[in-house]
């Protein structure tokens, strides 16, 4: 049961990264791929109907973590206290930037929100990448299963660590670049004209950089600790790596041949595969102790309750298909290229 819920939580988080990831990515690249108001409305029209629903995956994953592994949730997010509030404030600013921008036709008003949208998207991608880096590196858990981290110490990923060190910053940069590529691939698929042309170019360069960082981080992780050493014994780990490699091939193929959907599915597979492989290697550890493996909080010590989780499977079995149903409906209703809405008809 705990193994299953570990998988459910990881799958929901991966769904969150892939789905909200493309609208973060659209935010990261939009100042570059969309130069005037018409083009920026095109970008917003492409993500407008989806971003709010995508963000719900974060809340759903948080809820699943809450019920299945309350010790992980409470220790994890109270330990990263400041970082979590920075994330929350960026999510607030980003949400109102998207929703409030089009209420006024004034160019200064719109320019301000455009900048904020880009900045908040970029910071969030940086924070989420850094968070993943912290989980792989480990945190200084105490006997009672709590920790707190300073923002940074010596920037070394061993000894007395902070949230930021060169390894976690690397993971944060990877987050920005990879989500940027993902968002650019999404825009290549969903827009046309100049925006599409620039997005395709952006996706190509950003994705190349993302694959480079991915390789560097792979070897640095190998040097840092033994997380990756079990990769050979974990079939899901191999599957994840294969998915990521397949994604890389699909992006290359898709961007070269103008098969835009293939390229977008490729960046999605790249992100999802990387996350699956990471989770498979970490299992059963959910919050890794940096110095004492005995203090790590695992899926078995995460505070879950078997009987309660069996109950939760029932509502999950109803709720998840419903959520996927709305999602498919929403995509079908807004299929086709996004065109900049005329005033009064959308974002």
């Amino acid at each position: 049961m705990f193994e299953l819920w570990f998988a459910i939580v990881c799958a929901m988080l991966a769904a969150y990264v892939v789905l909200d990831g493309y609208d973060f990515g659209a935010g990261i690249v939009h100042l570059f791929v969309a130069r005037n108001n018409e083009e920026r409305r095109q970008v917003l029209a492409a993500i407008g109907p989806y971003w709010d629903g995508n963000e719900v995956w974060l809340l759903a994953a948080g809820g699943a973590l809450f019920v299945a592994f309350p010790r992980v949730l409470s220790a994890g997010i109270s330990g990263f206290y400041f970082a979590i509030f920075l994330v929350l404030w960026c999510l607030i600013l980003r949400g109102i930037a998207i929703e409030f921008r089009s209420h006024l036709a004034d160019p200064l008003w719109r320019a301000a929100w455009d900048f904020l949208f880009a900045l908040a998207s970029m910071l969030l991608a940086l924070f989420f990448g850094t968070a993943l880096g912290n989980l792989v590196r480990g945190v200084p858990l105490n006997d009672a299963g709590w920790f707190s981290l300073p923002l940074f110490t010596t920037f070394s990923p061993s000894g007395v660590v902070g949230i930021l060190d060169w390894y976690t910053i690397g993971a944060g940069l990877m987050g920005v670049v990879a989500l940027g590529a993902h968002g650019a691939a999404f825009l290549t698929w969903r827009t046309d004209g100049e925006v599409q042309r620039r997005a395709r170019l952006g996706a190509k360069h950003l994705f190349r950089a993302a694959v480079g960082l991915w390789l560097i981080l792979f070897f640095e992780t190998h040097r840092l600790n033994d997380v990756l050493s079990v990769l050979g014994q974990r079939p899901l780990g191999w599957l994840g790596v294969a998915l990521a490699l397949g994604g890389i091939a699909a992006v290359h193929h898709g961007l070269e041949r103008g098969k835009d959907l293939t390229a977008f599915l490729g960046t999605s597979a790249f992100l999802a595969g990387t996350l699956v492989a990471t989770a498979a290697c970490l299992f059963p550890v959910m919050l890794k102790s940096i110095d004492n493996p005995a203090l790590s909080i695992t899926a078995y010590t995460g505070g879950g309750d078997e009987a309660g989780l069996r109950l939760a499977l029932r509502w999950l079995g109803i709720g998840l298909p419903l959520a996927i149903g709305y999602f498919v409906m929403n995509f079908r209703l807004h299929r086709g290229k996004a065109v900049a809405a005329r005033d009064g008809e959308g974002y």
């Binding site: 407008g48 809340l59 019920v67 206290y81 209420h103 009987a307």
Partner: protein, 443 residues
């Protein structure tokens, strides 16, 4: 964990939840009124109602956006600030919090853009159904939150595990907690009160301004009729059932809400008076005898226990604020029924648009349901003290042990600044919508 940090944790949660709930109480109430307006617009010749709905959907959209972004921090603060509570009760309350995301938020987010932007693309019937879906989503979301709170007020369906944390034993008992059903009916009807007062206030505003007169008449009609119905339901039966539950399961809270120290029959309800905790009495009270006994137990002669019957460590920790909150809520609720009864009668007779004093009263009344809703939640939450989960887990045990007071004060200040900015933007955009009015083309 020191006392100081606990205070800031509580203040931050209280501030962020009170601010957040200013928006959902309007959107939940307005969602129902929009469904009514969209329903009326489906009848032959209902175009004017479609126009009315369009105006309120724009107001709804702005409120909804602020509600969403201020709602996200709420779920996270259980973990950041109340980590020990999450550990203790996560296995139980995690169910409803996760179900809210799965069953309510996905539904709302999928239909929001259809409702706000889809009128030209969808058939009138489909657009009406989007309004219904959004109403259902927002009210479902309300249920999961109220159900979570009801568990904290009156825990049912649980057991304590060997490690001292809570386990869910009966899902259905937990999900259909009698406290949750009563509190939900009370809270939702109170949200409709807020929605109705806002719609009526807009109607009064345009009537007094002599603009958009046709729409103003519609706003006044919907606002006053829904306002009268919902204000009455808030008091009876929902408020009444709620009071009886408090009397049964939280008798010390009932005594504190009324500032009642002495035990005795024919317990009265105080109209004016200040609790004096040090002297254990109510200063200069003006009370109507017997009413509290009647409200709590259905008979005037029944004995109501006073605070003196209970050890002081079981008393709600902030007795004065609890007392004032309850009286503000109950007093305003009574005034709402009076105002709306008069206004609805005038509207029904077709005279309301000529009676300026009543129009002025409706215009200036719209902030008060917000105050009453807030005071009502303060009554519920202050009344729950000193417990986080009533009778099981004290508030002082709930905070994250390693988060210091200065850290929390810092994030509280951050929220204050962020929310001040949001308030300015919100008022600016809503002000523009009101100035444009229901007939202007949207920019």
């Amino acid at each position: 964990m020191n006392e100081d940090a606990l205070f800031w944790h509580r203040l931050q949660f209280a501030f962020t939840i009170v601010y957040h709930y200013l928006f959902p109480q309007l959107t939940m109430g307005l969602a129902l009124l929009i469904v009514i307006m969209k329903g009326l617009s489906l009848r032959p010749g209902g175009d004017a109602w479609a126009l009315a709905a369009r105006f309120w959907i724009r107001v709804f959209g702005i409120n909804f956006a602020v509600g969403v972004v201020t709602g996200i921090p709420m779920e996270f603060q259980f973990g950041t600030n109340w980590g020990s509570f999450t550990r203790y009760a996560g296995n139980v309350v995690g169910h409803t919090l996760a179900m809210e995301g799965l069953f309510a938020f996905f539904l709302e987010s999928s239909f929001l853009s259809l409702l706000v932007w889809g009128e030209k693309r969808l058939s009138p019937r489909m657009h009406f159904l989007s309004a219904v879906a959004l109403w259902a989503g927002s009210w479902l979301s309300g249920y999961f939150i109220v159900c979570t709170n009801a568990f904290m007020q009156h825990p049912v369906g649980h057991a304590t595990a060997q490690d001292g944390t809570l386990r869910l034993v009966s899902f259905w008992e937990f999900l259909f907690n009698p406290w949750a059903l009563a509190q939900y009916a009370h809270t939702m009807s109170a949200a409709v009160v807020t929605g109705s007062f806002v719609v009526a206030a807009a109607g009064a505003f345009y009537t007094l301004q002599r603009t958009h007169l046709d729409q103003a008449k519609r706003f006044l009609r919907v606002g006053t009729f829904a306002g009268l119905a919902s204000s009455m339901i808030v008091a009876f039966p929902t408020g009444d059932i709620q009071a009886k539950l408090v009397a049964e399961y939280q008798p010390v809270t009932l005594a504190a809400m009324e500032g009642r120290f002495e035990t005795g029959p024919m317990a009265g309800i105080t109209l004016i008076g200040q609790p004096n905790v040090a002297a254990r009495r109510l200063d200069n009270p003006i009370a109507v005898p017997g009413i509290l006994s009647f409200l709590a137990y259905g008979a005037f002669h029944r004995t109501v226990k006073g605070l003196n019957e209970f050890p002081q460590e079981q008393w709600p920790t902030n007795l004065e604020l609890l007392y004032y909150s309850f009286h503000v809520m109950a007093g305003l609720g009574t005034l709402f029924i009076g105002l709306m009864a008069g206004a609805a009668l005038l509207s029904w007779r077709g005279w309301l648009h000529q009676v300026k004093p009543v129009l002025w009263a409706l215009l200036l009344a719209f902030p008060f349901p917000y105050i009453a809703n807030t005071a009502g939640w303060m009554t519920a939450e202050l009344g729950r003290q000193p417990w986080l989960v009533y009778g099981l887990f004290r508030t002082a045990q709930g905070a994250s042990p390693q988060v210091h007071s200065g850290t929390t004060l810092f994030t509280l200040i951050g929220f204050t600044g962020m929310y001040a900015l949001l308030a300015v933007l919100f008022l600016f955009l809503i002000g523009r919508e009101i100035a444009h009015g229901p007939e202007a083309d949207h920019v």
